[in-house]
Symmetry: C2
Subunit: 140 residues, 2 copies
DNA sequence: GACGGTAGTTGGCACTGCGAACTAATGTGC
DNA sequence: GCACATTAGTTCGCAGTGCCAACTACCGTC
């Protein structure tokens, strides 16, 4: 019966983290989605379809997201030579800078959220969280 | 150095939970925000201002959110008698049903995500997570 | 009874994300 | 070598999100 308690706690924690994400994004005058896009691209230039998988979005949603990001000068579309239908999206210099800074800030604030906990607890929590996340997601 | 590992894991977890939330919401043909609204209201009728605090939104954003939810018949605005500026938002019967069902589904899916862990660890984690979350949030 | 604060709304804006329909290039089978 | 299905990405229309600034209406107080 109370095996929902941990789940509930994790959901709340997730909401909390989302707020941190949103706040940090605002500081950079970007949306959380745009920051997320940047973070995905830290792994290197990526095609639209692959990114849509990584972000869990429809391809059609990607188009707009990348359009707006490009307009802001944080990413660029690079036409693929081998396959002229395709294009890779890559970070601009500015985009890369923001991506790193945002990543640092989010990490720091989440770390602060967790605060001081017993080192043993931290390790346990870490391994559980890592286990849950493994092979499922792509992000920051 | 590796004190960023937990933070990173938590960010990924947050994204994962958001997806669960989004999927479940879609099953009910509602948005995550609308489901969130319902869950907050499970604690009882609530004024606009208080809800905006609970959800971390501007009051003006609440107006639209509640408008659309009301149009869908899942909540109602109840004019406050004592203070004629104010109103409480309350669940309709249908809203309550959905709120419970959605809560169950989200919890179950997150629980499934967590998977099997040692009962002792679970209890420990529960209290750690609860400790982090305490007094900061309101949600499911 | 004037006046400052509070509850909620309005309007304009940029952005999100979906589905369906589309264009253009690629690869496959015959 | 060409018809055909497939794949990459775009376009369009739509409902919804969330901010800010400005506003209305009501409350409490002096």
């Amino acid at each position: 019966m109370d095996d929902t308690k941990l789940a509930t706690g994790l959901v709340r924690l997730a909401h909390l983290v989302s707020r941190v994400y949103a706040e940090v994004s605002r500081e950079f005058e970007l949306t959380p989605q745009q920051i997320q896009l940047l973070c995905v691209l830290l792994d290197g230039p990526t095609g639209m379809t692959e990114m849509s998988r990584a972000l869990g979005l429809e391809k059609s949603s990607m188009t707009g997201l990348v359009d707006r990001a490009e307009r802001r000068g944080i990413v660029v579309r690079v036409r693929d030579q081998r396959d002229r239908r395709a294009c890779d999206v890559a970070l601009t210099e500015q985009g890369r800078t923001i991506a790193h800074a945002a990543h640092r800030k989010v990490t720091a604030q989440v770390e602060a959220l967790v605060g001081a906990i017993d080192p043993g607890d931290r390790e346990r929590l870490e391994s559980v969280v890592t286990g849950i996340v493994r092979g499922r997601d792509v992000l920051t």
